[in-house]
Structures are given as structure tokens and as C-alpha cells.
């Protein structure tokens, strides 16, 4: 109803930007000005670091109490890939999805069912899984994306639970016992890069090949997401996120773009589920609880929804910290909850936000500003004097 009006003469976004400059922003500005070769070197180094990550020496520090390579696959790698997928929906299009785990589950179950029943191989199935999960995203999205904000959140939550409960109640896919002996991906080659490491041989014991598979998927998906963000589609999403009515009036077919975001997010979730199922050999409905959706959402928000490096950082922290500090494992969700509340009060834009999103948050308009209308007159005056 009422958006805070800026009266100081400069545009509200710029005023907000000026106000919230931090060292992170300066780093980002430097990055924005950096020449191409610097960027490519950094990208290269990051990938090399990701490939070297599952070594024992890193693991000795990162997770002294459990097998580091296993943790790198699940939860860390899986969380990162899911968070990148959810970021398309939440961070870019601004649609709050509380049932993202449904697509992860659908991908996993497609892998499990086709792999055990029809005996297709992993590479064929992942294509089918991506198609089916994005189709399910469209099926869920088509009727519900006309809803706004928090309604959508609750519907997606309901959908996530429906998928899990249906899996639990359907004996054809194993009911509560799930599906066992899911086939591994076929070996691509048995070369040994260093002793004991065959990165393309997918067995039971060594989690590293699966981790590399996830890294490869992450790189692909990041490139894809990044290109989308810079394209017409990305700009349409930003417009929808900031003010859906305005976007619609400006001729953005909001519904179609929201559906697209849902489908892409679902596809990424489905692909992650496929890899997960292929690695885990057996899956059960309880691998896909609501709390996983909330965790991934927490990762996205914590890192800085809408900003890929931030989201990846958030997912990494959310996956890694509970494993590193095993003693606190019980308190993980408790801390999560507390941190979420605290973050929203202190730094709603996340640890590493994109500059645009920080501005949106500071302005309080992103995703349908609310609450301002119920704030006290003094609080409103404060807002407008900024």
C-alpha cells in the first residue's frame, strides 16, 4: 500500500546503496573492475581448490572426526548444488519455496525406480530425472504461481510433504522402507590420476568420484545460472522480485517467467537427487524431510540470497559446520533457528549479498514490502528521512 518515499533528492536505491557500503562491497567493486585474465585465474584456482579439497591433509583440519571426502559429497556438495538451484527460485525470482526438497526427492526416486526396474544407466536416467522434476515443477507451479508470497510458501510446503507422504504410503516404490540396490553410474575409465584415486570409477567405497561429479555439475549449473542472470530472463526475474505489479505493467509476462524459474530450480534439484540416489545405493522417504527444505533455504538466506558466491558460501557453512563441530550436532537445528531470526533482524541481506539485493532489503521493498504500513508513525518518519 505505502512504499517509503525518499525525499532527499537522490534515488532511493542509490541512497540505500550509499548507506550500506561495507568492506564486502569494496571487494565486490574491485572484482567488478578486475580485468578478464584476473577473473579467469580466480575461477581456475577455485576449481583447482575444489578438486584438491578431498585430500587427507585438508580433511585433517576440516573434519577430524569423520571421513572428509564423504562429508564433501553429503551434506556439503549436495547442499551447495541444491542451494544453487533454490537460489534461482528464491534469490532471483523472489518466490519463496518451502518444499524444494520435493524435487530432490523426485530426482532420487526417478533414479531409484528406473535404475532398479528398467536397468538404464545413470547418464540416461539423469536426463529423464531432470525432465521429470522440471515437469513436476511446472505442474506444481502452474496452478500455484498465481498466488503471492507467503501463500506460495505454504503451498510449496504442502507439496513437499505430499511427495514425501505419498512415497511413504506407496508400496510400489517401497513404502517407508524405500528402494535398495540402486545402481552406480557406469565407470567411464579406470585411469588413476594419483595412486588410489580413480576419479571416473564409481564404486561403493570411494566417495571422491561422486564428489567430482557434483563439482562438475556445480560448474555447469553455475555457468548456466550466471548466464541466465545476465540475460533478459534474469532481468525479468529481478523486476518480478522487486515489484510484480510494476513488472506486469511494463510488459513482463510474470507468470511465464515465474514458471520458468520454478522449472529450472526443480531441474537442478532433480539432478542433485539423481546423483544422491546413485551414490547412496538406497533411499527412503525420510531422506527428504521438511527440515531439509528449511536447511537449504537457510543456506541461501544466510549466504546472501541472489548472489551465487554468497549462496555457495552459505551452503558450505550450513553443511560443514555441524560436521566440524560434532559435539554441537544436537544443537544444530536450534542454532539454525536462532541464527535465522538474528540474521533477519541484523543482516537480512545475508553474509555476502549482491549489491542490488542489499539495496532492495535496505529499501524494504523487495518481495512485497510489508509491515511499513503497520509501523508506528515515528518509525515511518525514520524510514523516509533516509
Amino acid at each position: 500500500m505505502s512504499h517509503s518515499k525518499n525525499t532527499t533528492g537522490i534515488g532511493p536505491v542509490r541512497a540505500a546503496m550509499r548507506k550500506i557500503t561495507t568492506p564486502f562491497d569494496e571487494m565486490r567493486d574491485w572484482w567488478g573492475r578486475a580485468p578478464g585474465w584476473v577473473r579467469w585465474t580466480v575461477y581456475g584456482l577455485v576449481i583447482v581448490a575444489a578438486l584438491l579439497a578431498p585430500s587427507d591433509s585438508v580433511g585433517a583440519f576440516m573434519s577430524p572426526e569423520s571421513d572428509w571426502a564423504t562429508i564433501l559429497f553429503y551434506p556439503i556438495g549436495v547442499f551447495v548444488l541444491l542451494a544453487i538451484g533454490l537460489n534461482v527460485v528464491v534469490g532471483q525470482a523472489g518466490l519463496l519455496d518451502l518444499g524444494f526438497v520435493a524435487f530432490f526427492a523426485i530426482g532420487g526416486y526417478v533414479m531409484a525406480v528406473i535404475g532398479t526396474e528398467l536397468g538404464w544407466n545413470f547418464w540416461e536416467i539423469i536426463v529423464v530425472a531432470v525432465l521429470i522434476s522440471s515437469l513436476s515443477g511446472i505442474i506444481l507451479g502452474a496452478p500455484t504461481l498465481r498466488l503471492r508470497g507467503d501463500y506460495l510458501a505454504i503451498v510449496t510446503l504442502g507439496f513437499g510433504e505430499i511427495v514425501r507422504l505419498v512415497a511413504q504410503n506407496t508400496d510400489a516404490i517401497g513404502g517407508p522402507r524405500g528402494i535398495n540396490s540402486i545402481p552406480h553410474p557406469p565407470d567411464m575409465s579406470d585411469i588413476e590420476i594419483i595412486p588410489d584415486l580413480q576419479p571416473f570409477t564409481y564404486g561403493v567405497i570411494d566417495p571422491r568420484p561422486y564428489y567430482y561429479l557434483l563439482v562438475a555439475l556445480c560448474v555447469l549449473v553455475i555457468i548456466f545460472a550466471r548466464r541466465l542472470e545476465k540475460s533478459r530472463v534474469g532481468r525479468a526475474w529481478a523486476a518480478i522480485r522487486e515489484d510484480e505489479d510494476a513488472a506486469e505493467i511494463m510488459g513482463v509476462p510474470t507468470f511465464r517467467f515465474k514458471l520458468l524459474a520454478f522449472a529450472i530450480g526443480a531441474a537442478i534439484g532433480g539432478a542433485t537427487g539423481t546423483v544422491f540416489a546413485a551414490k547412496m545405493i538406497s533411499i527412503v522417504p525420510n531422506n527428504f524431510p521438511f527440515i531439509l527444505s528449511a536447511t537449504i533455504l537457510a543456506a541461501v538466506v544466510l549466504g546472501g540470497s541472489g548472489n551465487l558466491p554468497g549462496v555457495i558460501l552459505g551452503a558450505f557453512l550450513v553443511g560443514w559446520l555441524p560436521e566440524r563441530f560434532r559435539g554441537f550436532e544436537d544443537y544444530r537445528v536450534l542454532l539454525f533457528g536462532g541464527v535465522l531470526v538474528l540474521m533477519m533482524i541484523v543482516r537480512p541481506q545475508g553474509l555476502l549479498p549482491s549489491r542490488q539485493r542489499s539495496a532492495e532489503f535496505a529499501e524494504g521493498s523487495g518481495m512485497g514490502g510489508m509491515g511499513a504500513e503497520v509501523a508506528t508513525p515515528t518509525a515511518k518518519a525514520e524510514v523516509s528521512s533516509r
Partner: protein, 322 residues
């Protein structure tokens, strides 16, 4: 399938109405907060959960371990209802003060509110699972399993409708819910604070100009909604005789469904929606089997939001949704 429905019709109806009245009472909290703030108080499920433990705590303090009767029963019932209302209402007020007020003042986005609510919800659940239940209720290592609540009444048949027997506990739940609904309706329509609530729901800015203290109204809204969840919690423990840290999650979503079904923001709608959802669930369960109970409720939620997001009675505590 339909034979089951026909043969189970009256028993299902009675079960559905009893469960539905609990949904309705919880739905009031969602509907009131939504009406005033246009915010889905996602943590309301935990308000209910803490209410059940407030009721249990009251029972423990009173030292009630078995069924009581007559005036003692009435007294105990009032006391556990009061205990649950204090626990729930207090939680709801704390939520507003800690998790929402700062955001409201900043004019934060809806997303921020929802995430703050999810955070608060997870925090409270885990707080009970890890600390309160093991320590406060003397169940070390068992925070995550069901906590039994001592039976408060002998459950015996009162009379029968058709071939179905109406038990006293079901009647109590149903009548209790209806009475509380009437009380709430009177509060909102007849009292000063009720007028403030309606004014804020209709137009917050004008309400401020007319001298309504918005913060007080919002606080009262949370308090009243929480107290209703407390009543629901007390009735719940009397009826089901157990609780756990997770009890609010499903009931909360279902109560939200009920609120949406009846028309969110509409108090009478919450009653209609709650009873309707209870009945649909009970009939559906008798047709498909109890393992589908939750799926039915979630499907109803999705269907209602798809086809009639304004609900059966429409939104009335405030203007139509922006």
C-alpha cells in the same frame, strides 16, 4: 470404498467435528495475525505446542495422575486451560516482541518475516526437544518421543446419533471450541480493543490517525490468538492424552489450511474452515485409510489455494488482500 464411507458416516462425522474444532481454535491465531499484519505467523504451531506443555505442567503441579470427576474435573479443566493459555499467549507475545517487532519497524520484506518465523519455529521446537522436555519434564534422553499426559476424564459414551456413539470427551472438545469462538467474537466485535483490532485490520494508517496504539493492538492480537491456541492445546491433551515437541507442525499446517479454507482474516471463517477440514479429513480417512490423512489435508490446502484463495466466507477482518 464408498461403502466404508456410508457405514462409517456418523462415527467419522463425530471424529471430524472434534478434531475440526481444535483446528478451528488454532486457525484463529493465524487468521487474527494475518488480518492485522497480513503476515502468516509460521511459528503459531509452536505456540500451540508450548500450550500443550503448559497444560501438562499444570497437571503435574496439581498432581493429577488419573481421571477425576464432578466439580474437581471442572476445576482442573479450567486450571489447565489457564496454564495452557498463559504458556501459549506468552509465547505468542514473545514471538512478536523478539522475532517480528524489529522487522516491522524496519518495514522489512515479507520474506524476512517468514524466514524469521521459520527460524523461531525451529528454535522453539528444538528448545523443547533438547532442553525443556528432558529437564523440565524429567525425561532425559527422550525429548523426541511422545510424552504421555495423564488421563483427565473417563471417556464414556453419552448418547448416540444413528449408529454412532457420542463420547463425553468429543462433546467437550466441540462445545469448548464453540464457546470460545463466541467469546472471541464478542471480544472482537464489542470491546474497545476489538475495535482497535478491526480498525487496524481495515486500514492501519487511518487507525493510527484515529489514535489507535498499533503496537498495543498487534500485541493484543498475538495474545488473543495465542490464548485461543492455548485452549486448543488444553482440549487436545484432554482428548489425545499425549504431546511431543513436534505436535505443532502438522496441526499448525492443518489449522492454517482451515484458516485459508474459511477465508483468512475472517474469524467465523476459521470455525467453518476448521470444521470443514476436520470432516473432509475424517471422511477421506474412512475411504482411503488413515495413512492418507495428512495427504488429504495437504491436497485440500493446495486445491483451496488454487481455486478459491479467498476461502469459503471470504476475507472480512480487513479489505481484500493486496
Amino acid at each position: 470404498m464408498f461403502n466404508d464411507l456410508v457405514s462409517q458416516f456418523w462415527p467419522s462425522t463425530i471424529d471430524g467435528l472434534a478434531l475440526g474444532s481444535i483446528y478451528a481454535l488454532i486457525a484463529l491465531g493465524y487468521t487474527m495475525v494475518y488480518g492485522v499484519l497480513r503476515l502468516i505467523n509460521f511459528a503459531h504451531s509452536e505456540v500451540f505446542m508450548i500450550g500443550t506443555f503448559g497444560a501438562l505442567l499444570t497437571l503435574n503441579i496439581l498432581g493429577v495422575t488419573g481421571p477425576v470427576s464432578g466439580l474437581t474435573f471442572v476445576g482442573v479443566l479450567f486450571l489447565i486451560a489457564a496454564g495452557a493459555m498463559i504458556a501459549s499467549g506468552g509465547t505468542a507475545v514473545l514471538l512478536e516482541l523478539v522475532a517480528y517487532r524489529r522487522l516491522r519497524k524496519k518495514g522489512a520484506s515479507r520474506l524476512a518475516f517468514l524466514i524469521s518465523a521459520i527460524g523461531a519455529s525451529l528454535f522453539l521446537q528444538e528448545l523443547f526437544a533438547l532442553v525443556v522436555i528432558p529437564e523440565g519434564f524429567d525425561r532425559p534422553q527422550a525429548g523426541r518421543i511422545q510424552v504421555p499426559v495423564p488421563a483427565l476424564m473417563e471417556k464414556e459414551p453419552l448418547f448416540s446419533i444413528g449408529d454412532a456413539v457420542v463420547r463425553n470427551d468429543k462433546l467437550l472438545v466441540f462445545v469448548g471450541a464453540i464457546v470460545m469462538m463466541i467469546v472471541l467474537d464478542l471480544i472482537v466485535n464489542r470491546t474497545r480493543i476489538g475495535r482497535g483490532i478491526r480498525a487496524t485490520a481495515q486500514n492501519p494508517e487511518s487507525a493510527v490517525l484515529m489514535g489507535v496504539n498499533i503496537d498495543r493492538v498487534v500485541l493484543m492480537t498475538f495474545l488473543i490468538g495465542g490464548a485461543m491456541a492455548g485452549i486448543a492445546a488444553a482440549l487436545y491433551v484432554v482428548e489425545f492424552e499425549n504431546t511431543q515437541f513436534f505436535v505443532g507442525f502438522l496441526l499448525g499446517i492443518k489449522a492454517f489450511t482451515a484458516a485459508v479454507m474459511g477465508g483468512i482474516g475472517n474469524l467465523r471463517g476459521a470455525l467453518v474452515g476448521g470444521l470443514a477440514l476436520g470432516l473432509i479429513e475424517a471422511y477421506g480417512t474412512s475411504m482411503l485409510g488413515s495413512e492418507w490423512q495428512h495427504v488429504i489435508a495437504f491436497s485440500i490446502l493446495v486445491l483451496v489455494l488454487m481455486f478459491r484463495p479467498t476461502g469459503i466466507l471470504g476475507e472480512s477482518l480487513q479489505q481484500a488482500r493486496a
